[in-house]
Symmetry: D2
């Protein structure tokens, strides 16, 4: 029951890294939404490995096929949309050692502890390849949002890599800049520095973590379902389910601890007939419901667990061992996490939009 | 559909701050678990206002009644457990001004935007009183966990208030110390300093935020359902649904950005026949599944939105206005958030324990 | 997880026959729907025992209280609506013998087998009192449907008691006739005969079963979610969850076996600009989706299990025993089942209306 | 949200009759259950068209592929199991006329009414091909049940075709007899008569309905979740979601109306240390929970809607029209419904077995 996300717009992913493929079923999608396989492919290209020297040299073509739910004329039918990507470039031999040795800070041991069995090759279900299904579903969500909330925009970028930070305010970040540099950071001036940090880590056989930021602009007020499915709670759930994500904050986040209420509160005022706030420490969400301001999120990502340095570990028969990563892996997952973060944000938003339509009849 | 939490151990809360009461229905609870109204009352006392000079002087007796699901002999029946607390000390007049004026950084405006109607008195459904249902359900979860995982321990404490921090490592925190000081911090030496900070903020009509930390000790390995219901994702969902929570991190959290993989990875070794890790940057969770180490979480809380200082705002008819908080409110929610955090952690854990039992038959 | 019904309009009931009370929480209800406690009480009166000499002489006042989710002005808030009825007229002594002896065709043995514990007094959770929550929630559903689909009408009646049948075609059944006779049958001419059959059964210490029919008129086309939540599947689920219901059919039902396709098919024609069908063997549902014709259902109910005659049984310690029913029970549940059937039909319909609004934006 | 079935063992199907294929994702399946593609293929062969002269001559190979969730050694991994069957023998030209003309008693009109678009070729999502996903998932359920409840047996057969009935008591029905005749009835003596009735109907261009019976033997006591997910309610839901099913009854079903309580009640007695019942009008379920006796169900199926006779209808532009079925269709769906009914029964049972394990820890 863990491979389904969403209440009304429901996404179910399946697939191991080295099985037949990776796929997703999107159920509850509104009918008559334009959708083509190219729309899906465009998002997958952004997630794909081998995009630049910063990412793993594995060549995964990741060509999606839409198997159901879309008419020959390219419109959704209202029935489940099945999309899949075949597994191709799978060199299981790279992973032979992994068959019996637990990789530190990977899921090998815990899958064994939970299921008593695991698909060891390539990480199985715990592989980052699983996120293909998320990104494909996110492309469907994007098409639906384009129809219902045409103004709404979701934009993520790399804000920090190791100790290199991009300081640009969220409201000034532009998609074209983010996509123009291989690190996918918002400030082209910092991109080189981040890139060098990643290359340096790789040259040492090491890896780096960082922070991805995400903004949702022009979201309608009224999204989010108190009390348990507050907008920040479902966004947090979505983001913390992304592999390697260790933290999530909305608006002022952990900085809120240091700001007294008198400065933290976002004063209301009227502008252009709309209720607006002077500041946005709330990050666009109050009482779990969007207020029409920018929704601001930040996500912490840990450094890639697979590194080329020798590490202490144990085998599945509980003997001491050492292990050195041999597969082809990203020294830093951040650049490729950007489209995944955007996809998860859209899955949450489209679900809340449809839930709002169910309960209240309209979306503001 | 937003007032229910959990997949197998399902908790549904209801109630506004100034209606008939606040309650919760727990469905899917295992039968033959010892449970008395005192067990529930003990947890509610910790959440209750008026415990010390640090909290609101409102006197809420918060006496729970168990209406169903428990036998006369004090054992759960396997049927839904309904618990409620009557609303008593409700002075609606304190809130008259709120009827038409939106309180900054509260949910007044967004509830209006979403529903087109709101229970304005005392914040209605967005009041912190709603958390009574969570704490009562958490007491049930505690009883179930005591039976299935008797070693498991959940412990939360205040780690930071404003800029005053408690530096004690999680493994050294003791429940008796936390409960011995009104701030509920882990280091008695810091408690006074935190207390002074809170009192000073209140004397200025202001408020403070902070950080609550939570550790789960002796959790069995194997809890958490990849891929969307990873243990950290459901914990994050639970915690970010608590009013005023702005951020959540597990293990190294946002610090992960600054640590290279070679130092971040948690090396495995054998100890006492068990697979253990040398460090715990994973925070007890790998691949979304518990590994048997301490589960470490940190939550950011914003400063209380209701303050005694005058603030700019607008009315529900969109006129500019000013507002000064008049109700009796906590200058800092952190001390009372501690039992709520523990309750939410237990709700997540018990649900995963039962899910694990469903799918895999046993809980390690 | 078994006490919640519905996907978007979610109803959670709780309560045993002899505990603190019986209640329901309705989550996901649209805001700004007029609702008063009288609306709920009116439906409960129809379900209540002691209405006529045909039903149990137990006096259950069944006065509902609305504890949350409705404004002082009598409008729904969009937040969970909690309604409960206190248990009052509980004479546990009537049930003393039941404490250790399993009543034949009751739930005593199976609750023990499942949970290893049971609330023996009055049947506990398996008591028909549990349906109070369903009827109260049905009253909320009725109010919502009145706002969204004002033409829609749900009407149930007793079609058969023992071997006495009411032959009136569904389209000619009138609510005022049904409510005018204590049996709640559709043809006043048959009512006396049914009444005599019930009284005769009771005088022998016996009981009778029968059939309840239900029609939904003016339902919009488009309700029902293929493939698993077809309208007839969710209606069937709802109806078969009513205590004592043993069968469900839609449209031609079991008679379909005897009709060749050429006569069973419902020919389409145009009338008043609408697509209509000449016959209605489909019972208003095709491919799991309503087609705008009358939705026709029939439900089989078994005879009341509690009878005054001596019966063979066993004790909970597995000794042979005999038992004679001593409580005050209906000799025929059909008359009181009518409002329960209507309530369940409305719960299904309102959920599908909101789901349709979520996915397709409009309800035809 | 309608293409998923089950709470813990969750099945999601996708696919239209003439798209890329038909598939299913099974989530929540226990790990380490032996499962091979042959297991799945064996069940699909029983559902496949072209098995005998009684069924459509369409040749659908229906070769399944398992894409995920199963190890190379043929054991389930605990992760989602994706199975699909490619669409091959699709002659869309047979369906040209259907593009604009609504087939009577099919889903063409209602899909248009609901979604405003439909995959007209071959019935799209409403095609009986959709049941491939159910049967494939049922094969997985069968493998799980074989491990957890090895005694449990599910057996369905055709009990009635038109007015030809098979009178064999459920306890005497044998699988080998059912599979030995093309009608899949339980009494070989009646099989010829049923077969002739079907062939005669086809020769007239007509079709026949009937009744399928199903028994679950050796089910453990304790399955079923009061109050809304009573075992008969979830079984009814499952069965009524099968295309063409118009009615469902359990135990005495509609006959219950004619039996007084004194004869309908199932007296308890002890046998071999087990609580048994003398009769089985309850159909193995009391209070919504299995009691260990045979679970007895009957399902009504309508005659195939596609017939070779000319019928009155309308076009999607609301003009009067006539239509004569041209595709290759079964004159009677009953024989092929048998494996589908068994699959749905198993999906319900396995879900309740896992739910029981979650809540109560053991399955009796």
């Amino acid at each position: 029951m863990s491979s389904t996300f969403g209440q009304v717009f429901r996404v179910t992913t399946w697939g191991e890294s080295h099985g037949g493929g990776i796929g997703v079923v999107v159920d509850g999608c509104p009918p008559r939404v334009p959708l083509t396989v190219e729309t899906v492919a465009d998002e997958l290209v952004r997630r794909r490995p081998g995009q630049s020297q910063l990412t793993t040299p594995r060549r995964e073509r990741d060509t999606p096929e839409i198997l159901s739910g879309v008419s020959d004329e390219g419109e959704t039918l209202g029935t489940p949309i099945a999309i899949w990507v075949r597994n191709t470039d799978a060199r299981s031999s790279s992973y032979d050692e992994m068959q019996h040795t637990y990789r530190p800070s990977h899921a090998d041991y815990t899958y064994d502890a939970k299921y008593g069995i695991r698909a060891w090759a390539g990480g199985g279900r715990a592989s980052a390849r699983e996120t293909i299904g998320r990104v494909a579903a996110g492309a469907v969500a994007k098409a639906v949002l384009a129809q219902i909330c045409p103004q709404l925009q979701v934009l993520a970028w790399v804000e920090q890599v190791g100790d290199v930070c991009c300081q640009l305010p969220a409201r000034e970040v532009e998609s074209c800049v983010v996509e123009s540099n291989p690190v996918r950071t918002a400030d082209a001036a910092v991109a080189d520095q981040m890139q060098r940090a990643i290359i340096e880590a790789r040259s040492k056989g090491d890896s780096l973590g960082g922070v991805v930021a995400c903004v949702v602009r022009q979201a309608p007020a009224g999204l989010g379902d108190p009390v348990f499915d507050k907008l920040e709670a479902t966004l947090g759930h979505a983001m913390l389910s992304i592999p390697a994500c260790k933290g999530f904050e909305v608006g002022s986040g952990f900085r809120a601890a240091l700001i007294p209420g008198s400065r933290h509160n976002d004063a209301f005022y009227m502008s252009g007939g709309r209720v607006r706030t002077r500041s946005n420490n709330s990050g666009g969400i109050q009482g779990g419901i969007s207020n029409g301001e920018d929704i601001l999120m930040r996500l912490a990502f840990k450094p890639t667990a697979t590194i080329a340095l020798e590490q202490e570990t144990v085998t599945d028969e509980h003997h001491a061992a050492t292990l050195r990563g041999k597969g082809r892996h990203d020294p830093c997952v951040l650049p490729r996490a950007v489209p995944i973060v955007e996809a998860m944000a859209r899955l949450v938003l489209v679900d809340h939009v449809l839930r709002q339509r169910a309960q209240c009849g309209i979306v503001c």
